[in-house]
C-alpha cells in the first residue's frame, strides 16, 4: 500500500515554566494514499498537536520535536522551513476548528483565497479572481461574486467553514488535514460540511486526516481511525473493524459520550470521569488507568505496549474489551 504521509516515532515536547510538557509520545502513523484517516481523542489528547507537527506548523523556541515525517516520498523532518513551506497548499493543507478565529478578521474573503493562488500558484490577479469564484462555487457558496468582498464576520459559521475549505483546497493539495472541522457548527450544518468534505475528497482525489473528538464523525467519513490518549495512540484500526471489535476501554468511553438523536430524554449523557493525566510527568502504568472502569493492578504498574490483534487492529491495553473483567465499582 502506498502511503502519502508516514509519521514514525514522533515525540513532541513543549518547554513550559512548569517543566517539559510531553504532548505527543512515540507516535507512528501511516496515511495511505487516497484514504481518509480519523484521529480521535479528547481535547488535550495530543491529536491537534500531532497533526500540526506532522504538517510542520509547530515552530518556535519552545517546541522540541523528534521523529520522522515522510510526505509524498520527501522527508519533511530534514527539510528547511522554506522547503517545507513549498509543500503547503499544493501538497498539504489544513482546515481549522474555528472558522471565526482561523480566518483573518480584517481581510476580505476574496483576498484570503486569492492570496494562496497568487503566491503559491503564481496566478495573475484576474485569473486568481476567476479561480476564487470557481472555488467558492465548488464549496457550494451561493452568489460567490458577492462573497469576494465580504469579511469573515459577515458570514455564518457554516459559510465561514466553506470559505476555509475553499482556501484549503485552492491549490489542490494531495493531503488535507481537517482539525475538528465541524465542532464549532450547528448539528445540521455539521453533516453538510462533512458531506462536502467527502465529496471534495473523492472529486479531487485527496487523502484526508480528520481530527475530531467525536467518534460519530469518523464513523461514516473515514477508512481508518487512530484513537489518541495522553499523547499516545491507544487504538488504531480500519473504521469498520474498530466499531465492530472495540478493544480499548477508552474508545468505548468516547463512544458512550456521543449524544444520539435516539437518546431517551432525561437520561444523562455518559461522561468520562476524571481528567487527563498531567502531561509533564508520564505515568508509570497505563495513562488511562486512573479513569478506567476496568482498571487492574497491572494497569497502574506497567505501561502497555501497542499490540496487534490482527486485521490491522492495534491497541494498547493489558485487558482489552471482550475479555471477562470485573467492572470497577
Amino acid at each position: 500500500m502506498n502511503t502519502i504521509l508516514s509519521i514514525a516515532a514522533m515525540n513532541i515536547k513543549f518547554v513550559t515554566p512548569r517543566g517539559l510538557l510531553e504532548a505527543v509520545h512515540e507516535v507512528s502513523l501511516d496515511i495511505p494514499v487516497g484514504s481518509s484517516v480519523g484521529i480521535v481523542g479528547e481535547s488535550g489528547s495530543g491529536k491537534t498537536v500531532l497533526s500540526r507537527a506532522a504538517m510542520g506548523l509547530l515552530s518556535g523556541s519552545t517546541v522540541r520535536r523528534e521523529g520522522k515525517v515522510v510526505f509524498d516520498g520527501k522527508e519533511l523532518t530534514t527539510m528547511t522551513r522554506e522547503q517545507v513551506r513549498n509543500e503547503f497548499g499544493t501538497g498539504m493543507a489544513m482546515i481549522f476548528q474555528d472558522p471565526m478565529t482561523a480566518l483573518n478578521p480584517v481581510r476580505r474573503v476574496g483576498t484570503q483565497i486569492a492570496e494562496s493562488l497568487r503566491i503559491r500558484l503564481g496566478m495573475s490577479k484576474k485569473a486568481a479572481v476567476v479561480r476564487t469564484i470557481e472555488l467558492l462555487s465548488l464549496v457550494q457558496i451561493p452568489d460567490p461574486q458577492a462573497m469576494l468582498r465580504k469579511f469573515p464576520y459577515q458570514l455564518s459559521g457554516g459559510m465561514r467553514q466553506r470559505v476555509m475549505i475553499a482556501i484549503a483546497i485552492s491549490c489542490s493539495p494531495k493531503l488535507l488535514f481537517a482539525d475538528e472541522p465541524t465542532t464549532a457548527l450547528d448539528v445540521t450544518v455539521q453533516s453538510q460540511i462533512l458531506q462536502l468534505l467527502s465529496d471534495l475528497r473523492r472529486e479531487l482525489k485527496m487523502s484526508m486526516v480528520l481530527v475530531t473528538h467525536d467518534l460519530g464523525v469518523v464513523a461514516g467519513n473515514t477508512d481508518y481511525v487512530a484513537v489518541m490518549y495522553a499523547g499516545e495512540i491507544v487504538e488504531q484500526a480500519p473504521t469498520s473493524e474498530l466499531f465492530a471489535n472495540m478493544k480499548m476501554p477508552y474508545t468505548e468511553a468516547l463512544l458512550k459520550s456521543i449524544p444520539t438523536i435516539h437518546m431517551q430524554s432525561g437520561k444523562r449523557l455518559a461522561v468520562i470521569e476524571g481528567r487527563l493525566p498531567d502531561p509533564t510527568s508520564r505515568l508509570q502504568g497505563c495513562s488511562f488507568a486512573p479513569r478506567c472502569p476496568y482498571v487492574q493492578p497491572k494497569c497502574t504498574a506497567e505501561h502497555p505496549p501497542l499490540v496487534n490483534a490482527g486485521n490491522d487492529h492495534l491497541y494498547r491495553c493489558w485487558f482489552p474489551l471482550g475479555q471477562t473483567i470485573a467492572r470497577k465499582q
Binding site: R118, I119, G122, K125
Partner: protein, 543 residues
C-alpha cells in the same frame, strides 16, 4: 516571496522618497550666494516689543537701535558726543540746553528730522501727546523737567527754536542732561508716534536699517538697509554695508555657538551667564569673541520701607552673607568680577580699591553677627524671601543666594516666578523685599541716578528711609561732583540699601565671514561699544 505588481500607494511612497532624497542631495549653492552681506545675528531674547514699557533687554535694544537713533551717543572714553544732533550747548548753570540737529536726516517713512519731531517724541514719552503714559523714559523726563502735566507746561520747557534747533529749560541744574539722549530715548517719526507702535510690527526711525518684518514671528526680526542713511563709512562710501540684518532668537547658548560654527549665524551675543560656552569659544579658532567692558553690575535692592529690610541690621546681614566671589565663579564661570560697590571699578563714582573697604564685603562671621543683631532688635529670626522670574538663571541665582542666607543663620525661601515685566514694574506691590536688577549699565550714570535718587519712585516702590541720602544724590546730580557722588554711594552701600553682586560684560562672537570693514573691532581687542550701541552699519559679511 513573489513580487506582486506595485499598487498605487507604493508608487506614491516611492515618489515621495525619491523627492526627498533628491532634494536632500541638492547642495545649495544658491544660499551661499544670497548669504553675502545678509548678516544673521543670533540673540537669546524674544521680541516682546520695542516700546520701552515692554522692558526690552539689551539684545532687543541692540536690534532696535539699528532702526531708531538718538540725539547723543558716547565716545570710546565714555563722554557724551552729538549724534543726530550736530552740536549741543548749555548755559553755565546747566539749566538751559540747546540741541542743533543735523540737517536733511530722513526717517524711513520720508519725514525729515526736525526740532518739532524731537519735541513730539518727548511729549509722547511724557504721556502728553500722543499718550504713551507711564513709560520708563517718562520718569526720567519728568524728573529732568521737574514735572510736566499739561501741554502748556510742556511748551514752556521744550521749545523748538527753529526747524533744526530745540531748547530745554530745566528747573534745576543738570550737568549730565545730554546723557538722557544717549540711552534708550530714541526717536521715531511722527506717524510712528501716532500709531503708538514704537516698533511693535512697524515703525520708522532714522537708523541704518529699516524694519522689513518683525513682531509676528517673535523669534525673528528682519531689517533691511536704509539706502539713504546719513552716515558715511571710513572709506567715504555709504552705509550700511550689509543688505539685511536678521536677528534670530536662539535661546540655547550652546546652539548660538553651534550656529556660528556652522555658518547659520554670522554673529551671536552672549552674557557672562553663559560662562561655559564662553570658555569653550575662547579656545575655538574659528570664532572671534569680543568681550565688552565689565560694566553691567547686578545688584540687590533692599526695600527699606518694609520688614525685614527696614532694619539696617537685616540689610547688612544680607550684604555680608552674599558671597560675591562664589557668584562670579558659579554664575559666570570666571567671566565676571565680584562687585562690592556701585558700578565697575572704572565707573566715575566707584569707590576706591574696588570698594572693598568702604562697602560691605562678603564676610560670613559678620553676617552671622548681624543676623543675631536683627534677632535681638526685633525678636524674630531674619526671614528672606527672594523673587524670581521664569528664567532658569534667575531661579538658579536665587537658590544660590538663598543657600548663602541660610548659611548665615537666616531662613530663606523663593517666591513663585513672575514675568520679567511684573518683576520690574510691581516688584514691591508683589511684596518683594528685595529685587535683583542690572541698572548700572555702561558708565553713564543717568539711569542709575534715576533709581538712586527718587525718594518715592512710583515705578517700583523703591524708597530710601534715609532722607539725607536722597538729598545727597540730588546735590550730586546738580553739581556733577565726583566727590559728592562717592559720598552718597558710600552711604548707599555702607547702609546696604543696594548690595552689588557681580559685574559682567556683554560678548559678541563672530564667525569667519564677518568683516569689520572700518576696523572698528581690531582682532581680539576690547571695545567699549559692545552693548546696545554696537554699530552694525559698518560690518560686511562675505558669501
Amino acid at each position: 516571496m513573489r513580487v506582486i505588481k506595485g499598487s498605487w500607494h507604493k508608487k506614491v511612497a516611492l515618489a515621495a522618497v525619491v523627492t526627498m532624497v533628491t532634494s536632500l542631495g541638492q547642495i545649495a549653492p544658491t544660499n551661499a550666494a544670497s548669504k553675502a552681506n545678509n548678516l544673521v545675528i543670533a540673540i537669546s531674547e524674544f521680541d516682546s516689543g520695542w516700546c520701552l514699557q515692554d522692558s526690552p533687554g539689551g539684545e532687543q535694544i541692540l536690534a532696535k537701535n539699528q532702526v531708531s537713533e538718538t540725539l547723543m551717543t558716547t565716545n570710546n572714553k565714555g563722554k557724551p558726543v552729538p549724534y543726530l544732533a550736530k552740536s549741543v550747548e548749555n548755559s553755565a548753570d546747566f539749566k538751559t540746553w540747546k540741541f542743533t540737529l543735523r540737517e536733511g536726516i530722513m526717517f524711513h517713512d520720508g519725514e525729515e528730522l526736525t526740532a518739532a519731531t524731537v519735541a513730539a517724541n518727548v511729549a509722547g514719552n511724557l504721556g502728553l501727546n500722543p499718550v504713551i503714559p507711564g513709560s520708563l523714559p517718562a520718569i526720567a523726563w519728568q524728573d529732568a523737567l521737574g514735572g510736566v502735566t499739561s501741554l502748556a507746561q510742556f511748551a514752556a520747557k521744550v521749545q523748538p527754536l527753529s526747524k533744526y534747533v530745540i531748547q530745554f529749560n530745566l528747573p534745576a541744574p543738570r550737568p549730565l542732561f545730554s546723557e538722557i539722549w544717549g540711552g534708550r530715548s530714541t526717536l521715531w517719526s511722527s506717524k510712528t508716534l501716532q500709531t503708538k507702535q514704537c516698533g511693535q510690527t512697524v515703525g520708522a526711525g532714522t537708523g541704518p536699517f529699516k524694519i522689513q518684518s518683525k513682531g509676528v514671528d517673535k523669534a525673528k526680526t528682519v531689517l533691511e538697509a536704509n539706502t539713504s542713511y546719513w552716515r558715511k563709512g571710513a572709506d567715504g562710501k555709504s552705509l550700511p554695508r550689509a543688505k539685511t540684518l536678521t536677528f534670530l532668537t536662539i535661546v540655547d547658548g550652546s546652539q548660538r555657538r553651534n550656529a556660528l560654527l556652522k555658518g547659520q549665524a554670522d554673529m551671536a551675543t552672549f552674557t557672562s551667564v553663559g560662562g561655559l560656552v564662553l570658555n569653550e569659544m575662547k579656545k575655538d579658532k574659528s570664532i572671534t569673541l569680543f568681550e565688552g567692558p565689565r560694566d553691567t553690575t547686578w545688584s540687590f535692592h533692599m526695600n527699606s520701607a518694609a520688614a525685614p529690610f527696614n532694619s539696617k541690621n537685616a540689610r547688612l546681614a544680607f550684604s555680608y552673607a552674599l558671597d560675591r566671589e562664589a557668584l562670579a565663579k558659579v554664575v559666570a564661570k570666571g567671566n565676571a568680577d565680584p562687585a562690592y560697590c556701585f558700578g565697575a571699578t572704572y565707573h566715575p563714582y566707584n569707590l576706591s580699591n574696588g570698594g572693598k573697604k568702604k562697602c560691605a564685603p562678603s564676610d560670613l562671621a559678620k553676617a552671622k553677627e548681624y543676623v543675631a543683631a536683627y534677632q535681638t532688635e526685633t525678636g524674630k529670626q531674619l526671614a528672606v524671601v527672594l523673587p524670581t522670574t521664569e528664567s532658569q538663571e534667575s531661579i538658579k541665582l536665587a537658590q544660590a543666594v538663598c543657600n548663602m542666607m541660610i548659611k548665615a543663620g537666616a531662613t530663606c525661601t523663593l517666591m513663585p516666578p513672575v514675568t520679567a515685566t511684573a518683576y520690574i514694574l510691581r516688584g514691591f506691590a508683589l511684596q518683594q523685599q528685595v529685587s535683583n536688577f542690572n541698572v548700572v549699565f555702561g558708565y553713564s550714570s543717568s539711569f542709575a541716578d534715576l533709581f538712586s535718587r527718587k525718594t518715592n519712585l512710583e515705578l517700583s516702590g523703591f524708597r530710601f528711609t534715609n532722607p539725607g541720602l536722597a538729598a545727597c544724590f540730588q546735590t550730586a546730580v546738580e553739581t556733577n561732583s565726583k566727590a559728592k557722588y562717592q559720598e552718597c554711594v558710600g552711604v548707599l552701600h555702607g547702609d546696604a540699601y543696594w548690595v552689588p553682586a557681580w559685574t559682567e560684560a556683554t560678548f559678541i562672537a563672530s564667525g569667519k565671514n564677518v568683516v569689520f570693514s572700518d576696523g572698528l573691532l581690531p582682532s581680539g581687542g576690547k571695545r567699549r561699544e559692545i552693548d546696545a550701541r554696537f554699530d552694525f552699519a559698518t560690518i560686511t559679511v562675505s558669501g
